[in-house]
Assembly symmetry: C5
Homo-oligomer: 346 residues x 5
């Protein structure tokens, strides 16, 4: 398959592409039903902001047509369709291209075993008065934002496509905090399990979480570069006064990166505890064995002595021999038990 031909490469079952459009200005708001890419062209003349959200990447021809009508570089289209992109920010003459990963904690039931992070690639194309978002899946990620545009007569409605882009990035990045919260619970659960009843399952859980963290780190740490590239950029599509909002997202990204790093340190600590508690357990087993063996092996030897069949064993005939031996049988273990208690083995 030669480079240059557009193909969708992704892990999700192919879903039919759904196009939804919001066209808004300070006063007006329109949510037209759009069937074909050509329907979008009329919004080009309008002065209002048009946000086109595509969910599902199966219908490659839609992306191709958008590329054609809006004059997007073929490599950008390829990147939109290939969902294994590294988060990045690219400036072109007439538009900006942003691609990053939306992370969600998967199923609602966040039980210890099923914790799996879901990754969805989100591409954002920022043009003058036009914003395209390409999502792999149909979900409610941007619903709150849509509501805010519908209801609000405030900030978002009076600012341009750069503010909308900020709002999109903010939504995607802030989702990570939810993820980290559920990560936090996981770590606490494992820690408690370790201190009460560590099993080899706990080890598997630690390892699984560690792998998840490696993946999360790979998805989130390039966001740092991405945002600092946006902040450094002096592209005319990002106005100076919106910079402060991007700086705010940048701070969030920094906090997330630091959190991920500290969770890693914590998991390393949990592994140390696991190894130590396994050693402790073995110690305990060894102590039980040693106590039993040390008490009964000498006694068995004594009993063995008087089980010998020599003809000349004077003790065998003495009347008090048997009670004396019992005395030994009782005092010897008592002494040893006191000794082991002193050593804190019992």
């Amino acid at each position: 398959m030669p480079p240059g031909s557009l193909v969708h490469i992704g892990d999700f079952d192919e879903e039919e592409t759904r196009i939804s459009v919001i066209d808004y200005g300070r006063i007006d708001l329109e949510e037209p039903v759009v069937e074909t890419v050509e329907d979008l062209l009329k919004f080009r003349e309008k002065d209002s902001i048009t946000w086109v959200c595509l969910e599902g990447l199966k219908n490659v021809e839609i992306t191709e047509l958008i590329g054609k009508y809006f004059n997007i570089h073929p490599l950008v289209l390829e990147d939109i369709l290939n969902t294994h992109q590294r988060p990045k920010f690219e400036e072109y003459d007439d538009y900006l291209y942003i691609v990053l990963k939306g992370l969600s904690s998967g199923e609602n039931d966040s039980s210890s075993v099923d914790f799996r992070v879901k990754y969805e690639q989100v591409s954002i194309l920022v043009l003058n008065d036009f914003v395209f978002t390409f999502k792999e899946r149909k979900d409610d990620l941007f619903l709150p934002l849509v509501q805010r545009i519908r209801n609000s007569t405030g900030r978002i409605r009076s600012l341009g496509s750069d503010y909308l882009t900020y709002a999109l990035l903010d939504t995607i990045v802030d989702q990570n905090f939810l993820l980290l919260d559920s990560m936090d619970e996981q770590v606490d659960d494992i820690e408690e399990e370790l201190l009460t009843n560590p099993t080899s399952d706990t080890l598997v859980a630690i390892q699984r979480l560690k792998r998840e963290l490696i993946d999360i780190k790979r998805a989130t740490s390039p966001q740092r570069e991405l945002l600092s590239a946006i902040l450094r950029s002096d592209h005319e599509l990002i106005s100076e006064k919106i910079h402060i909002y991007y700086r705010d997202v940048f701070d969030h990204v920094l906090r997330i990166t630091e959190s991920v790093d500290s969770y890693r340190d914590m998991l390393g600590g949990l592994l140390d505890i696991y190894v130590s508690s396994v050693s402790n357990k073995m110690n305990e087993v060894m102590k039980i064995l040693t106590v039993f063996a040390s008490i009964f092996i000498p006694l068995t030897f004594i009993a063995g002595i008087y089980g010998m069949n020599f003809e000349y064993m004077p003790e065998l005939k003495w009347k008090w021999s048997y009670p004396v031996v019992w005395l030994v049988f009782i005092t010897l273990p008592t002494v040893l038990i006191i000794y082991f208690k002193k050593k804190k083995w019992l």
Copy 2:
């Protein structure tokens, strides 16, 4: 909840906001009782320095009004109220915004188990002749500074809002040294415990301290950037001649960062000792078992031989057999004990 609406996000029980004001110049000092934000407006005309200290962030409307009257950016107000900020320094045209964490070692009784660091977010707004501080809790953190302003007729009274800001930062940063001192005691306690009587509780204590350190590092290491950003800044609100004071705080921050790093190294070392001492203990247990088993198992076998019931066992009838066997019973363990002593197992 859309961005743009101010809400208090924090971990502390909501306390009613308390406003206290000191207005001072080289000669005059006034501590007016302030009920409403409007009461502050009259100080704007005065040439003196006005320090407004707000404790407790519950009454969001107070922050909102300050924002309105003093023309503060909404994002800054959001950051003041959301107490999960990363320490940072932001420059605006008319004011500076500093946010950082005040650390205190919690309860007075710094017993090994209850060691918990308390984090309080402190926001500082520096305007021309005006300084606002927003604290999450009511405590005595700034009391010494208030006293110095009241008593002093010296440096602090004759310098501007930039020096007051330095004094605030200095107070917050130097608090960390107290924390590190109590950390030092903790580490020493654990080390002694490790060398005398390591238990699994010691491991838990090490792990807990490690987690605290991870949190402390997250709270303190961005202070480094914060202060170097202040030092790099050429904002007119920070005069050149005050730079040397900020450089002093910067040095303190560097020392704290280095201390935190070295405590981490030390805790890593303690964990190594713990693991080794658990191994050592197991070694000891094994030696006891081995000594007991190696001595008595052969003896029991010998006793077993002469407990056999064969008809033709000539030794059974010899008169000296029994004493000879006793001789063996005594010499064999003696030899083994000497051998084990040589191996330093006893």
Copy 3:
């Protein structure tokens, strides 16, 4: 052997050098059979792109002649022939020199034991309208690219030698993704083996993979510098509008580097699991031993008591002694087994 004399240094069995040439323009395409270096000279006058692919480095004189006719620096010729080069990019007045490693996963049968990465040095000389590639071995690496040139009437045919160079780099770099996929399978296989049946072979497999990763890292991480050097370069042989393609390869290189790093982390995690599971196994063995010993050693002692031959042992004559002793023989182990079950040792 003095520096300055050209010698082939490499690990592959010397193969006869094979020269293949494609000369193409927007419309025409020619694949002449070339026997001697002199045959290439006529293409110098033509305006079309000429790609000369040399496979096998045995015939040193060919490289020498190319150097002579195309005015290549002797050190570059040495680097082409010595196949232990670090990937790098060098700019000269009239040409560019790129050297990097092509990685392939060796045999088709990617069984756990035989996983060996094969490294092949590929040198690329980029002149105006001329591209030379020097490969160590004859293989199909560039076959898809040759096909694309033959069939395509599109991008590749209408662009210059810089685009061809991009296509070559893209081919070499993207090969690594295949390698990482098979690496992925390996890691998963080992992980499953670890959780089901870890043997010392598993350890050897982990170690072998670790060494492979060290080598892969050494081969791929300089590619990052290489591509950022190309992107920084303003050599006239790389036109501005092709930069976006190199940036695309750069992104791929970044993804590969990050993957390699995360595989390393994962292998570190596998080693931790291995060590822990060995400890767990020992724990299990110790428990079995302890259970057996703790149950039967006391019983043996009791049997030993009544095997003693004292004359005055009243119990021996009682009728119910034997059944009572059996009762003890049955209850004692039952109690111990319940105890061990509670401790989860059984």
Copy 4:
């Protein structure tokens, strides 16, 4: 205690401050006895270099007066008196301030247990033709330098205060080499102990050395910044032609930093050996136990068989039974011993 008031903060018992002065030029040398700070003022007019060495920081008023007469910033005076400074270099209009740590290996008897590094803060104030040094303790650190000034008619006498400062730094930094030499001995001692007879004391010694290294690193690594700051500085008090000398000290500092890092690596290696040798020892103990148990437990069982009291046990009556059993008693252990020898357990 408000900032701004000068207080001595330090770990050493307060010693009375001793002032010693050397005033020297190319030809003349004077060592006046100085009682009060005022006595120093007359040297200000002289063209010669005046080196004032203060030992002991108890008499705060002396430092205060020097600050007053020589116009030193109050923060610098605070830093001189507070002996917990991070090594640093600060430039002021009329003077330079350098503070760093002098390290010495404590007691003469460098026995393994008592190895403690002593840290002394040395502050250097460099003015035009004036150099002040503030030392915490009275010792012979600068004695060789004093001798050189007294005797020499060479380089040091003909160069300015910048060369004297170099000589002071050189003296302080080179002292570290002595320390590292004794560190070297320590590491070698521990390594030998580890290979011959590792005890838990060895572990404690490793840990202690590790902590010392953490402290040494904290004291020496900022010297690197310090000297590169001096080299970058273009302050008129450091003339261009003296730079080469500072670069020499810089090289020494680099060597020290690298040595400290490599000692750390070595100590990490020693810990690995310790842990491994503890495991090895346990292995040895287990082998002894296993050999004893495996040999005698089967034999005891055999003896037990013929200790049974069944009426119908034909072997009991055979004449050769007893010798045959003895044969078994001898061959069985022999076989096992050969087996264990083969496994290299004996």
Copy 5:
């Protein structure tokens, strides 16, 4: 000993200094016998390149005289004689000073135990048409280079002192590849030993190699800085067209640095294997013990039952008791052995 007096500080037995000189141009070549430093002066007027090689540093006065006649800074002379220098490159007005370490793998017999790297300090003074090399020892390091100058009529004879310097650096750096090859063999040997028969000697060998690597790293990693400093330099003694050669050496240095780092990783991996294989061995020992004990302890108990002397033990009188007990003696171990085989302990 005051700084400024020249003394030889080094680890080698003092050897008498040997001076050898080659004076060469494009056509002429002269190898005069030189007794005194004064003999060198006449070559200053000649236009040809003069290479003066001093081997052995004992005769300090020779270095001193060279310094005097060729106007070398005293600190450079000190650095030449003190053989504990960090590799570095220093530019002076009229000359360049390069110092670095020549590494050789010591004895010819590279047996596992005797592997010791030998370090020799080589100083290079580059003047216009004059190159001095100062070596600690007399060896054949530069012999191939001498031969090339003698025989060659090519590149080296037609280029200046900068090319000769390149050739010297190239010779010294490329020697490291030989060292790394023998390191490679060592690592392979140890790895094989680990997988077949790990002993505590293997651990010592790993540790020794680790220490060697730490030293090699310290000697080679500053070469990187050294060469990048040469490449950055625009000193007139290094002409632009020779830069490409230095870049070549730089690449070699990078390869060496990367190799050293990867050997370190490998040794870390070997240590992990060692620890694991010790654990594995202990596991094996424990299994043997557990199998023996678990089989024979129950049997001994059964034999013990029928060794009891109760009067009323009906089984004792039954005819088939003894064979039945034997049946138990045979089936019980069989069952256990099958169980242990299933658990893969046998």
